[in-house]
C-alpha cells in the first residue's frame, strides 16, 4: 500500500511571528521556515507504518514555491521514498489545497493519506476533512494512534472529553495530532541519499483547478501580551490570591 503524506512549509514554530507594518500579513521575508510540525508527525507515522510492513512506499507532497523543495527534501531525508511538488507562487486556501490533493490522489492512488491535523500558520484544520469528502473516503481526524489491519485502519481520535476509536475502511484520510508520535531527526545517510530520490514538479497552473480566493483577510493583530507570572511560597498564599486578586474562587 502506498501512503501519501503532506508537508507544508510554514514559519519556523520557534520564531515569533510578526505582522507586516500595513497589517496585511505575517512577515515571511528573511525568516526561517520549517516543515509544519503536525506534518512532520504525519511523515514519521508513514515511515513507522512502512517499517512495520503496512506501507510499501511513502510519497511526500507539498504545494508551494521553489523553497518548498527544501521541505520535501527534509521528508526525504527522514526516509520518504519520493516527493511531489505542486508549484504555486501563492498560498492557496484549504478548499483549493483539498482539490489539488484530490487530483494528486487520483493519479497516485494511495491507500492512505496522512496529513497534519492543521498547518500552524492558517490553523484552518479543513483540508483533510474536505479531501476525504471529495474522494468519498473514510476519514479519521486528530489521531493519536493508527494500526493497519488488512483493509482496515484502526485509529484512536483525540476528541473533547476523551478518546474515540474508529475502524476506517481503506483507502482513508487521517490527520495527525500532537501525541501520535515524536518525529525522528533526519539521518546523515538519508540526507546524503535524499538528493538522489525522485522529486517531481507539477505547475499548479497546468492542473486546471479553480484556486480563486474565497476568503478575505480583514485584519490581523498580535495576541494580547501575557502578564508575567508570580511565584507564591505556599498553597495558602495561592488560595488567597485566587480569592482576592484573580477572584476565581
Amino acid at each position: 500500500m502506498k501512503a501519501l503524506v503532506t508537508c507544508k512549509r510554514v514559519l519556523d514554530p520557534y520564531i515569533k511571528a510578526r505582522i507586516n507594518a500595513d497589517g496585511s500579513a505575517v512577515n515571511l521575508d528573511n525568516v526561517k521556515m520549517a516543515m509544519n510540525p503536525f506534518d512532520e508527525i504525519a511523515v514519521e507515522e508513514a515511515l513507522r507504518l512502512k517499517e512495520a510492513g503496512s506501507v510499501t512506499e511513502v510519497v511526500a507532497v507539498s504545494i508551494g514555491g521553489p523553497k518548498s523543495e527544501e521541505t520535501l527534501r527534509q521528508a526525504l531525508a527522514m526516509g520518504a521514498d519520493r516527493a511531489i511538488l505542486v508549484e504555486s507562487d501563492q498560498d492557496i486556501e484549504p478548499l483549493a489545497v483539498a482539490k489539488v490533493l484530490k487530483a494528486v490522489c487520483d493519479e497516485e492512488q494511495p491507500g492512505l493519506v496522512l496529513m497534519g491535523k492543521q498547518a500552524i500558520d492558517g490553523d484552518s484544520n479543513q483540508a483533510g476533512q474536505m479531501l476525504a469528502g471529495m474522494l468519498n473516503w473514510a476519514q479519521g481526524t486528530f489521531i493519536s494512534e493508527i494500526k493497519i489491519d488488512g483493509e482496515t485502519a484502526n485509529v484512536t481520535r483525540e476528541i473533547d472529553g476523551g478518546l474515540e476509536k474508529l475502524s476506517l475502511k481503506l483507502p482513508a484520510v487521517v490527520t495527525a495530532d500532537l501525541r501520535l508520535n515524536e518525529p525522528r531527526y533526519a539521518s546523515l545517510p538519508n540526507i546524503m541519499k535524499a538528493k538522489k530520490k525522485p522529486l517531481d514538479k507539477k505547475p499548479l497552473a497546468d492542473m486546471g483547478i479553480d484556486t480563486a480566493k474565497r476568503i478575505e483577510i480583514v485584519g490581523l493583530s498580535e495576541p494580547a501580551e501575557r502578564q508575567a507570572g508570580v511565584m507564591v511560597d505556599s498553597v495558602a498564599a495561592l488560595v488567597e490570591k485566587l480569592k482576592t486578586e484573580a477572584k476565581v474562587i
Binding site: K16, R73, Q74, A77, S187, L188, K195
Partner: protein, 387 residues
C-alpha cells in the same frame, strides 16, 4: 565561477544538527551549568540519539564507518553544535582525527568503536610546565625490552573523565640539533584502567561548566610498543597531520555560539523600551548590532573558507590559524556587547549571556592560544622572505 552557497545536503545537515541542539541540548544547559555536572543518563541518551541519527563519527571517512563528510560540512556541524553547551555537545561522538593513524589491531580496538560512538577518547598534550611550549614536556617513557615505562603527568585534559582511552603524547628520547637538544615525542594509546595510570578530576574552570578537565598521572606505567600510535619518535608528525581539525572546530563552535547569542539579543533590542522607544532605535545600541553581525559574518566566512581550502587540497595552515584567532576573539567581543545591551540583567544567570561570556574566555586559550595563532600566521608570512 565563485559559488558561496551551501548544497542542499549541507543545508539539511546544518538544519538537522541545529534542531538537535534546540530540542536535546538547550533545555538542559542552564541546569548543567549551575550544577557543573551532566547526569550520566542524559549523556548516554544524547550519544544514543546521535548514533540513531547516523551522525556519530561524522568527521571520519566512510571506509572506517564515519560520515564521509567534506571539511565544509564538518565545519557546519561544528558551527551548529557551538550553539549548545559544550558539556552536553561533547556527547555528540566525534573522536580526534588523529585516530586515523591507527594500524592493524589498533583499528578494531580504538578507531572503529570510537567512530561508532561506542568508545570515547581524549587527547593529552598539555602539562603543568608545558603549555604553548609543547615540546618542553616532562612526561617521559623509558624503553624496557619491547615495553615502555612511563612517568609524569598531564593536566587540563578535556573530557578525560568520560574517556575509555586517552591519546597521550610522551617524550621518548632526545636528539641533538643545531639549536641544541630537542625532545623526541611519541604518541601512545592508553586504556583507562592500565596499571600505573590514573585519571583524576582537574580544576574548576570559569568556562564550560560541566565540561571537565582532568589530571592524568603515570607512575611506572608499563605500555607495550603495540600501544604506539603512528611511529616511534614521530608523534608530532601525526599531530600536525590531523590536529588542524580541532582548531577549525573551535573557530566554527565560536561562530555558532556568537550567532546564537546574537539571535537571542536582537529581539530584545526591539522589545525593550527606554525613554519611550525601543532601545534598538538608539544609535548606541543599533551600531553595536551592526558591528556584531559584521564580525560574526566575517568570522564565519574566514572559517568556511579555511575549510574549503582543506577540501581543495590547498595549504590551509595559516588560514585555519586566522579563523581560530579571529573567531575566538570575535566571540569575546560579541558576548561582551550582548551583556552590555541587556544591562544588569545580562549578568544574571536567568539569562544565558553571562554563561556565553564566561565560556568565550577559554576559546582564546585552548587548542593554541591567540598568541600561538599569531605566531603561526606571521611565521607563514615571513619565512619565505628570510634567507
Amino acid at each position: 565561477m565563485m559559488h558561496l552557497g551551501l548544497s542542499d545536503e549541507q543545508q539539511l545537515i546544518a538544519d538537522t544538527v541545529r534542531e538537535f541542539v534546540r530540542n536535546e541540548i538547550h533545555p538542559h544547559e542552564a541546569q548543567v551549568d549551575r550544577s557543573g555536572e551532566v547526569p550520566e543518563e542524559l549523556g548516554r541518551h544524547l550519544t544514543q540519539t546521535v548514533q540513531s541519527m547516523g551522525f556519530a563519527g561524522f568527521n571520519f571517512p566512510e571506509e572506517v564507518g564515519g560520515g564521509g563528510l567534506d571539511q565544509v560540512s564538518q565545519t557546519l556541524v561544528e558551527r551548529e553544535l557551538g550553539r549548545g553547551s559544550y558539556a552536553l555537545t561533547t556527547f555528540f561522538p566525534r573522536p580526534s582525527g588523529i585516530l586515523m593513524a591507527c594500524e592493524g589491531e589498533q583499528r578494531e580496538r580504538y578507531l572503529l568503536p570510537a567512530v561508532k560512538g561506542d568508545k570515547f577518547d581524549a587527547l593529552a598534550l598539555t602539562e603543568p610546565n608545558a603549555g604553548s611550549d609543547v615540546r618542553g614536556m616532562q612526561c617521559y617513557a623509558k624503553p624496557d625490552g619491547d615495553d615502555w615505562i612511563v612517568n609524569g603527568s598531564k593536566h587540563f585534559i578535556s573530557h578525560a573523565n568520560l574517556a575509555d582511552f586517552v591519546i597521550v603524547f610522551i617524550a621518548t628520547g632526545e636528539e641533538q640539533t643545531s639549536r641544541g637538544p630537542r625532545k623526541l615525542i611519541t604518541c601512545f594509546l592508553v586504556d583507562r584502567g592500565t596499571p600505573g595510570f590514573s585519571i583524576d578530576k582537574g580544576y574548576n574552570s570559569v568556562s564550560h561548566r560541566g565540561y571537565h578537565n582532568c589530571i592524568l598521572s603515570f607512575d611506572d606505567c608499563r605500555l607495550p610498543s603495540s600501544q604506539i600510535l603512528g611511529e616511534l619518535h614521530r608523534g608530532f608528525d601525526i599531530a600536525n597531520q590531523w590536529l588542524f581539525g580541532t582548531r577549525l572546530a573551535v573557530a566554527a563552535n565560536c561562530v555558532g555560539r556568537a550567532r546564537e547569542c546574537f539571535e537571542r539579543t536582537l529581539p530584545y533590542t526591539v522589545e525593550r523600551e527606554q525613554f519611550g522607544q525601543s532601545i534598538g532605535k538608539f544609535q548606541g545600541v543599533s551600531f553595536k548590532l551592526a558591528d556584531m553581525i559584521t564580525e560574526i559574518d566575517a568570522a564565519e566566512w574566514l572559517t568556511l573558507a579555511a575549510a574549503w581550502r582543506v577540501d581543495q587540497g590547498l595549504e590551509a595552515n595559516r588560514e585555519i590559524a586566522s579563523a581560530k584567532l579571529y573567531a575566538t576573539e570575535m566571540l569575546a567581543r560579541v558576548t561582551d556587547e550582548a551583556i552590555q545591551i541587556h544591562g544588569g540583567m545580562g549578568l544574571m544567570d536567568d539569562l544565558p549571556f553571562e554563561r556565553y561570556w564566561r565560556d568565550a574566555r577559554v576559546e582564546r586559550i585552548w587548542d593554541g592560544t591567540s598568541e600561538i595563532q599569531r605566531h603561526i600566521i606571521s611565521r607563514d608570512l615571513l619565512r619565505p622572505l628570510e634567507s
